[in-house]
Every structure is written in structure tokens, then in C-alpha cells.
């Protein structure tokens, strides 16, 4: 599969259109939206221009995704006006938004696992035969064409979506957006689950969309991406619009100040690592299909980074160490004693906790209050011979969530009503509360805004200073380089290299991860 081919035609085109095109393609003004007990958006405005990329920036819970859902007809605003090409409209359903050529790649991938790629692209607007029935043959042909134009011809239009890798799924989502000849394309944190290579591909695509004159809304917490791809910015804070303009006129610090309301300088915490004896050692760990011969050591007070491209198998290894998936061979030793966890309960008891990366599915229990989420793995400590003690649960939940600067109205609030980033804080709090020896964080800052990121990093530094050991799985190079003492690089289910993080450079890491010789 040749996905790395360069596409000269597109990249050589002049970037972005005129500085200030005459009419915005889409204008939102005075939009407000409340949920029971939460004011998600208050009187916000936003304009999208053809051939330009607008970045929407804001902390977790600032209301970005809510706005996306309003623009795509999924939520109805309580107040405000939407106009397209200068004409006021209401988007009373997703279908209506579709009809206006608005399409979105949502924060959560929302596609159909059990349907074919072609159907995923054309569901709802499939070509018809003259009898009015679906014309499967034309649909497949068109799907192949759309994928071709996106240079994603390697994706089989007849394949089931569930047999595709995550990056290809994203491409299908984009293909769907392309297939309706969208005029407005919205991307809500599209890069959060992608590796660097795939992010590059995505950027090429966005350039292509721009060149086609589409208006693009791009949401991300990563400033390097924003500065690379966007022309304009709009900043939200606590559901209100606090600034907008051209990116070339605004510096990062200025934007961060707008976003947080204070200065944040994200410098990785300065640590004086006091590395001790090995705490956890793994050797020869193998799984029939996912990974092979994994061996490494984690020492007391150490942060061990795990780097790799998405899909390298890091999460699977960590889940095996914490007893969630079964291995076929290999040994795990904790504090010199061999352990063989058969479930997460075993590993938590032994002192190893795994903070999963899929927050919604594996992390939070939506439908339950924050404090019950936090106490869930620690129930044996907050209860006495099986009988619950609420006061202790609240105390436990409070001490950890407040340290992570959780934004919530009360500890009895349903986690489901928190923004993505705040949910992530609950997830981290939950596993920290078990007082582990070894903590494995899988993409701990995925989807977390810059202020909270600093909090999480600071917290990690604090943890190791107290003598804990941390494994941090991350696909973000700055995070890996900024936080780890040593870096394990994984590629295709095997360990490719172990580097000491002294004078380690990004290039070496990327090369080992991708398997390209230096």
C-alpha cells in the first residue's frame, strides 16, 4: 500500500484564498444552548469562509463540540441565528444540515462497523436505479472514485468497515464528507487518534478541500497543528466567544490567554529523577495475534515512555500486563515476585493500574455520579465488610478530583454531563485513588486542553517523586520527549528499540517507530 506518496499537484497550489473573502459561507450569531444545569453556549458567533480553514479553540467543556452538533442539526439552539450564504435558515435535523452541504467528522468516530465502506460513504444519498431502488453497482463505482480522488484508493470499497484500521476509518469518514459535495466541512479533533504520518495525510486533504473552495472548521488542542493548517481562529471560553481573527496576527500566548483567561506556559515539569531498583519487569510476553516477545524493565521513580505509531500494539501490551487480555507466554515480575493477573481486579490488587485510552468505552461509567466513578476500583477501601461508607467515598473523590482541577458543579453530577476533557480527569482520578505502585497511562492527555495537560504532567511528576513508577503510552512526541526518562519504541507488535532520553531527538524516534533506517 502506497499511502506515503507525495502529491505535488495539491501541495504546490497557492495556499489559502484572499485574506478576507467577501461573504462568509456560514454565519452563526447569538447562539445559546443550555442543558439541564449547564450553560454550554451563550451568545456565541462564528463565521466560516470559503477556501479557508477556521480553527475553533477552547478549553475542555468550552462548548466546541456542542456548537458542531448545532451546526450539523443534531442539537437545536435555544436562541440565535444560522445563515448560509447570507440567508437565514434553521437546521432542524441532521438531514437538513446535510442538504445544505454541511458535513462533519465528529469527535467520536461515528460510522457503521458492520456495513461496507461504500455504504458508509453513501448511506442516505445512494445512487438509485430507475425503479428507485439502490444501485449498488454505481454506488461501489462512485465510492472507488471518491477514494481515488482522496488518494485513498488502497481502501477496498467492498470491505466491512470493522476490518479497517483506525486511520483508514477516518479516511472513510472524510470520503463521506467529500461524497456529498459538501461546502462546509467540520472536523472535531480529527487528529486525536492519528499518528504523525496519518496526520500529514489528513493535512494534505484539508489543503485539497481548501483548494476546492470549501469552508473548513478545524477543532484541535494542538497548537502546532492549528498554526500549520488554519487561516483564522475563534476562541471560546466557558461557552462564550472571547476572540477571533487571523492566525497570522495572533501569537500562541495571546490565544492561550484568551482561552484560559490567564497565562499558561506549558513547560514540562523540571524533575530530578531519583531512579531506584526495578519494580516491574516483563520478559518474553507474547500474544497469539497482537504482540510478540515483549520485554522491558520499569524502575522505581521512573517515567517510561512507550512510543509508536497508532496500532503498534502498545495498548494491547499494557492491557495484557494489567490482566485485561490474556497472553500466551511470558512472565511479569512485580517487586521481584512473579505475578499472573487474570483480570484487572488482580492487577489492581497487586498494585498495577491501567488508565485506558478509550475514555467513553473503557474509562467512565456514564449514568453514575462522579464520586461513584472515582471510588469504583477502590470500593474495598471505602466500604467495610461490603457495606458502603459514603463519607469516605466523597472524601476520596474530592481529594483526587480537586487536585486535577476538575470542573463540575458537584460530585454527585453524572459524569456523562461533563465535557470530554473533564471526563478524562475523572478517569485519571479514579485510578490514582487506588494508590498503586505502578501506573500505566495510555494516552493520558488525549483530548485534554493545554491547562489541564500541564496539570496532568505536573501530577505525573509528583507521583514519581513520591516513588511511584509510571508507564506513559503516548503518540505525542513532545509529551514523550518532555516527560519520559526512557522511551520504548514499538513497531508492529514488537519492541523496536529502547532509548535513554538524554539527547534523544524526535527524528530518531519517528524513524524507529516507522521502521525507516537512519
Amino acid at each position: 500500500m502506497d499511502t506515503t506518496a507525495q502529491h505535488k499537484v495539491e501541495t504546490e497550489r497557492p495556499l489559502s484564498g484572499p485574506a478576507q473573502p467577501a461573504t462568509p459561507r456560514l454565519t452563526l450569531s447569538g447562539i445559546s444552548k443550555s442543558f439541564p444545569g449547564v450553560r454550554a453556549l451563550h451568545n456565541v458567533s462564528l463565521s466560516l469562509y470559503p477556501g479557508q480553514v477556521t480553527a475553533l479553540i477552547g478549553e475542555n467543556g468550552a462548548g466546541k463540540s456542542t456548537l458542531v452538533k448545532i451546526m450539523t442539526g443534531i442539537y437545536q439552539p435555544d436562541a440565535g441565528e444560522i445563515s448560509i450564504d447570507g440567508e437565514a435558515t434553521t437546521l432542524h435535523s441532521a438531514h437538513a444540515a446535510f442538504g445544505h452541504g454541511i458535513t462533519a467528522i465528529h469527535q467520536e468516530t461515528v460510522l457503521f462497523d458492520d456495513l461496507s465502506v461504500a455504504e458508509n460513504i453513501f448511506l442516505g444519498h445512494a445512487p438509485r436505479t430507475r425503479f428507485g431502488t439502490i444501485d449498488w453497482r454505481t454506488m461501489r463505482k462512485n465510492a472507488r472514485e471518491v477514494l481515488e480522488t482522496m488518494r485513498a484508493g488502497h481502501i477496498d470499497a467492498d470491505a466491512r468497515l470493522k476490518d479497517l484500521g483506525i486511520a483508514n476509518k477516518h479516511l472513510v469518514a472524510v470520503a463521506r464528507a467529500m461524497s456529498i459535495d459538501a461546502r462546509i466541512v467540520i472536523m472535531d479533533e480529527p487528529t486525536a487518534a492519528l499518528s504523525m504520518k496519518e496526520i500529514e495525510e489528513l493535512f494534505l486533504l484539508i489543503e485539497f478541500l481548501k483548494s476546492e473552495g470549501k469552508a473548513v472548521l478545524f477543532i484541535s488542542h494542538k497548537f502546532d497543528e492549528i498554526y500549520r493548517i488554519a487561516d483564522r481562529y475563534t476562541v471560546f471560553r466557558d461557552g462564550e466567544m472571547v476572540g477571533e481573527g487571523l492566525l497570522k496576527d495572533a501569537g500562541q500566548n495571546e490565544i492561550v490567554r484568551m482561552m484560559v483567561g490567564r497565562n499558561v506556559d506549558h513547560i514540562f515539569p523540571q524533575r530530578e529523577p531519583k531512579i531506584g531498583a526495578p519494580v516491574l519487569s516483563v520478559s518474553g510476553l507474547s500474544h497469539p495475534t497482537e504482540f510478540d516477545d515483549i520485554g522491558f524493565e520499569l524502575r522505581k521513580g521512573e517515567i517510561l515512555g512507550f512510543y509508536g505509531l497508532v496500532g503498534a500494539g502498545r495498548s494491547e501490551v499494557m492491557q495484557a500486563i494489567s490482566g485485561i487480555t490474556r497472553t500466551s507466554r511470558g512472565t511479569i515480575t512485580l517487586d521481584g515476585k512473579p505475578i499472573a493477573p487474570k483480570s484487572a481486579a488482580d492487577s489492581i490488587e497487586a498494585g498495577i493500574v491501567y488508565v485506558p485510552e478509550e475514555r467513553g468505552k473503557q474509562g467512565v461509567v456514564i449514568g453514575m455520579p462522579i464520586f461513584q466513578n472515582v471510588s469504583l476500583p477502590s470500593l474495598m477501601h471505602t466500604s467495610k465488610s461490603g457495606v458502603l461508607r459514603l463519607a469516605e467515598e466523597f472524601a476520596l473523590a474530592r481529594s483526587y478530583t480537586e487536585r486535577l482541577d476538575l470542573r463540575a458543579s458537584s460530585l454527585s453530577q453524572d459524569v456523562g454531563t461533563l465535557s470530554g476533557g473533564n471526563q478524562q480527569k475523572v478517569v485519571i482520578a479514579k485510578w490514582l485513588a487506588t494508590a498503586p505502585k505502578v501506573i500505566i497511562l495510555d494516552e493520558p492527555t488525549k483530548g485534554i486542553d493545554i491547562g489541564s495537560k500541564a496539570a496532568v504532567h505536573g501530577f505525573m511528576a509528583e507521583l514519581v517523586a513520591q516513588g511511584l513508577s509510571v508507564i506513559m503510552v503516548s503518540s505525542e512526541l513532545p509529551e514523550i520527549l518532555g516527560m519520559s526518562d526512557r522511551v520504548v519504541v514499538m513497531r508492529e507488535g514488537r519492541i523496536a528499540a529502547v532509548h535513554d532520553n538524554k539527547g534523544l531527538d524526535a527524528e530518531t524516534l519517528v524513524r524507529t517507530a516507522a521502521g525507516i533506517a537512519a
Binding site: A94, G124, G132, I134, H287, T289
Partner: protein, 325 residues
């Protein structure tokens, strides 16, 4: 895995062939075309009902009220026929479809507008519709003597060597096949089952589609109501009592996933046939009728175990992909 899923119908067909083979060793006449035609005819109503249930299950819903709907509609048309024997049968069938549609629409509206889980709604209407049968009939039965000869004989008339009932079943199967594979609504039904959230984002009106699905199962229930009553020539409150579970069992055996999104018209038909063959064969191969229940129970468990095997996700197979690359 793709293969197993693709060929599930073929596996089921093979299982049915083996079953027929086994029965034939004890009762040689069973595999005769004439007998198989009869088995098909005997199973027609179950097949039709299973198709109606299938579309509901595909959307992650369930319709427990189908058998009660059948009972109610059957009673209504039987009473109409008894009172006005002159009403032509096609008109009665249309009435049955409409009555069924109304009952289905009630389920659908409650699911759609009030967002009550379908299992709760239809658990309620399961008893309500059957009770309503008692109310409209005053508890009295309508028996063969009160029904007009046309009413009884319509489905029995032979047409090109098959009874009309079989033709109706074939027609319904063909209709469902086209709808489920070739129309927007059919594909939306699948999409909703696979991923409801994504369906909303894709512009499908999930609530309205569910409403439609319940209307379909309601109409099917109504149609089956007429067919059932005219077949068994008695309309009473107890008609098809508990049959809702047979319908669901047929779907399950046919590989329709209770979690929605997975299943096919062929599967539902074959699942119904499988059950039909068992209930047809047990009496003729001299297995005590007391075994019938345990056998179909085991068949259901076996089918769901096998289907789950086929559905099981095989992981992402990083290593093999790596080797292939």
C-alpha cells in the same frame, strides 16, 4: 470470518438439509417434494412473522406484541366475516393489514415519541391487545361454522401447484428482500442497528424509522392474523398465545443478532423453516411430543452459540498484518 458471515445462510441451509436427511432415515417420505412443499406451506405464517420481527430486531428493538396483534386482528376479521360474509376476501385482507398497522403504529408512536424502550412498550401491549380481543369478542369464539367458505378456502386454493398461502409467503419474502437490500429505508434499518448515534449523524431520523419498523411488524401481524384464523378455523382469545417467543426464536436461529444490525431475509426464512421442520417432523418420526420443547430449546441455544462463534471479533491481528506487509 467474512466468509462465515457471508455464508451463514448456506450453513443454515446445510443444517436443514442434514435435518431432513436424518428425518428421512426414520420416515422415508419426508424428503418428497410434495411433502416439502407442504412443510413450506405449514411454515409460511411463521416465516412471514419472522420477517416482520426481523426488521424490528435489526433496529435493536423487539416486538413482543406480534402474537397478540395476530390474535386481535384475526378475531376482528373473523367477526367481520361471520357478521358480513359478503365482504370479499381481498377487502378483509386489506382490513387485516390496516388493523395490524394501527396496532403497530401504537407501539411505534410510544417508542418514537416517548422514547420508551420497545421491550417495555410491547410487553404492555402484549397483554393489552390480547385483552382487547376478549373485549371485542365478549370472550366468545368464532368457529369454523360461522366463517364463510371463501374465508376458509382462499389460502387453500391451489395456484400453479402451490396453495395461495405459500404464494403469499413467497411474495412477502420477495418484498422484504427488495426492501432490505435495495431501498433507502431498508438500509437505514440496518444502519440504525449497527450504530444509532452514527445514524443520527448521517441524517437518518432514528425515531421515525423505528416507527416505520413497528408499522411493518404490525401489518405483518395483521396479515398473519387473517392467515392464522382462516388456517386453523377458530378465533379465540388464546390464539397464538406465547407464539411471540417462537417468532423470536426463528429469528435467533436464523442468525439475526438481538443486538441489531446483523441479519438477513434469507436467515429469517431459514430460521423459521428450521423450526417448522422440527414441529412437522416430530409427530411423524414418533418422538414423543413431550420432547418437542426440549429439542427446540436446545436448537435455539446451539444456534446462538454457533452464531456467536461466527460473530466473534478476531482482534486486530497486528502481528499477521506486520508479516503480510
Amino acid at each position: 470470518m467474512k466468509n462465515l458471515r457471508k455464508y451463514r445462510e448456506i450453513w443454515l441451509l446445510a443444517a436443514i438439509a442434514v435435518l431432513i436427511g436424518l428425518i428421512s432415515t426414520r420416515f422415508p417420505g419426508f424428503a418428497d417434494p410434495a411433502n416439502l412443499r407442504q412443510v413450506f406451506n405449514d411454515t409460511s405464517i411463521l416465516m412471514i412473522l419472522a420477517l416482520g420481527q426481523m426488521v424490528v430486531i435489526l433496529t435493536r428493538s423487539i416486538d413482543l406484541s406480534m402474537a397478540s396483534n395476530l390474535c386481535f386482528t384475526g378475531m376482528v376479521v373473523a367477526m367481520l366475516n361471520a357478521a358480513h360474509p359478503a365482504i370479499p376476501i381481498p377487502v378483509l385482507i386489506v382490513i387485516a393489514l390496516l388493523v395490524g398497522l394501527v396496532l403497530g403504529a401504537i407501539n411505534g408512536l410510544l417508542v418514537w415519541r416517548l422514547n420508551i424502550p420497545s421491550i417495555v412498550v410491547t410487553l404492555g401491549t402484549l397483554t393489552i391487545y390480547r385483552g382487547a380481543t376478549f373485549v371485542v369478542s365478549g370472550g366468545a369464539w368464532v368457529n369454523a361454522d360461522q366463517m364463510s367458505p371463501d374465508f376458509i378456502n382462499f389460502q387453500r386454493a391451489a395456484f400453479l401447484g402451490l396453495p395461495v398461502l405459500s404464494w403469499i409467503a413467497l411474495l412477502v419474502i420477495a418484498l422484504f428482500f427488495v426492501v432490505m437490500t435495495r431501498t433507502q429505508i431498508g438500509r437505514s434499518i440496518y444502519a440504525i442497528g449497527v450504530n444509532p448515534t452514527a445514524s443520527v449523524y448521517a441524517g437518518i431520523d432514528v425515531g421515525r424509522t423505528k416507527f416505520i419498523v413497528f408499522c411493518i411488524s404490525g401489518m405483518i401481524g395483521g396479515l398473519a392474523g387473517y392467515l392464522w384464523i382462516s388456517r386453523y378455523v377458530i378465533a379465540s382469545v388464546e390464539v397464538a398465545n406465547g407464539y411471540e417467543l417462537n417468532i423470536i426464536a426463528a429469528c435467533v436461529i436464523g442468525g439475526i443478532s438481538i443486538a441489531g444490525g446483523i441479519g438477513s431475509v434469507g436467515g429469517a426464512v431459514l430460521g423459521a423453516l428450521f423450526l417448522g421442520i422440527i414441529s412437522n417432523a416430530l409427530p411423524v418420526i414418533n418422538i414423543s411430543p413431550f420432547w418437542q420443547m426440549a429439542i427446540s430449546g436446545s436448537a435455539i441455544i446451539l444456534a446462538v452459540v454457533l452464531n456467536a462463534r461466527g460473530e466473534r471479533r478476531q482482534g486486530r491481528i497486528i502481528l499477521r498484518k506486520a508479516e503480510a506487509a
